[in-house]
Symmetry: C2
Subunit: 234 residues, 2 copies
DNA sequence: GCAAAAGTTTGATCCAGATCAAAGAATCAA
DNA sequence: TTGATTCTTTGATCTGGATCAAACTTTTGC
């Protein structure tokens, strides 16, 4: 396995808090691992035995009901942390949306290492607090926004996330990007049906707010209009 | 200000990880504070300057849109931690639902203390991870459950939370409890309107699944039926 | 104890988004 | 290249929950 020095997400992931010596130890307990698109890394209810950093690719975190209804409760992009330390069972399913590379650790090994390196644990805390804020923001969307507002908010959000993962020096949101997933997945993120998602996107396209050159491609033509439609909270 | 030894939530709150000496230091930087029912502790977007432990009472965390639509994104019960360390602005409004007592710290003081006491920071991390799991569970409810399922899930959930705050030795969920809030608040938790909440509760009462002796009182008469209606994920 | 205010229930109606159905597009396999 | 599969769009219809409206209940203040 290659050393962390080569790791593309080294500076953005939690390991960014470690010095070279610490990184070597972490290196010893971590494993690079590949997931094919569609492959599930852990299932809701599973015993929590591994945690990982995403190196490349996108994963979805989902909760679902026994009749098949599914809600995507989070997305993990490169440098994000997945898995559940300090808890015996994981609460949501983690599935790769694209071919994915992760750097995984046994939960025990990770917890031990984190215990000895408060810097690392602090990074995990900061990340978790951010994710909690994001999850709570999303609750407003799920509980109170209309379908049109949901789609607009989603597109703005994705354009900002695409910016992060593309180029480290340029944090401008991208007005042109490709989604790592299809219409059904968008529906599962927004708490809508696939038909409603399709209709709303067609509407946005008819209004010339966005272009849809390919099935998964989005071009934002009128960002101000999209922001207005999103009704972002003040 | 009285010492932490008298504090009723001492063992359940994050300060439970501290020894007596540490607690005395924490005591020096903390202030007991009282909030009247309805009083807002911090506003969404405010500069983050204070954090606190809830000693007694219940608070709601909310996000809202400029046209008044509101979503309750969390509840804080005794021993819970509120506020946002490691971030310059808070992302949601925190408001007392009942008369409330909290133990508050300046964010700076708290962060400094946490930095010097990894045990405490670890407790905050564990709590934050739990809250994140809960928030994500709630996203499934908001995005995918029907009104009837939402009400049933809510009642089961509240009965379990009431158990915790009442008696430390007995963790049995209570079948009889009083809610710290009215119908509109329930609607804001579930992403429904007040009318729908009222109708669903009336239905449950007609089916003899619950009794509603007072405006804010709930008696669960048939817990199995309620669990079945809640469609809790497997 | 009584009027005013606030919160809750109930009824009638409406509509945003779901459901059902089928026709395109794109992708894939051989 | 073609047929099969999968995904997406579009159309028609239905319905759960919202909205509008009004009556009822509880709480509050004097």
């Amino acid at each position: 396995m290659s050393v962390c020095e080569d790791c593309v997400v080294r500076n953005k992931a939690i390991c960014g808090s470690l010095d070279d010596g610490e990184l070597q130890i972490m290196n010893r307990i971590g494993h690079k691992q590949v997931l094919k698109a569609g492959q599930t890394f852990m299932w809701e209810g599973d015993e929590s035995t591994v945690v990982a950093n995403v190196i490349d690719g996108v994963l979805k975190l989902t909760n679902s009901l026994d009749d098949g209804r599914e809600q995507i409760v989070g997305l993990a992009f490169p440098a994000d942390f997945i898995g559940r330390p300090y808890q015996d069972n994981v609460k949501h399913t983690v599935t790769a949306l694209t071919d994915t590379q992760i750097c995984s650790f046994s939960r025990n090994g990770f917890e031990q290492f984190a215990h000895d390196h408060p810097n690392l644990e602090h990074k995990v805390l900061e990340r978790t607090l951010d994710e909690l804020d994001q999850a709570r923001d999303w609750m407003l969307l799920l509980g109170r926004k209309t379908a049109a507002e949901k789609l607009a908010t989603f597109l703005i959000n994705m354009s900002e996330r695409s910016a992060d993962s593309s180029c480290a020096t340029n944090f401008m949101p991208q007005n042109q990007f490709s989604l790592p997933f299809g219409r059904q997945q968008i529906a599962d993120i927004l708490g809508l049906t696939i038909e409603t998602v399709s209709r709303q996107l067609t509407d946005l396209s008819k209004k010339s707010v966005v272009d849809l050159p390919g099935k998964r491609d989005i071009v934002i033509r009128d960002r101000d209009a999209l922001v207005a439609l999103a009704n972002l909270q003040p």
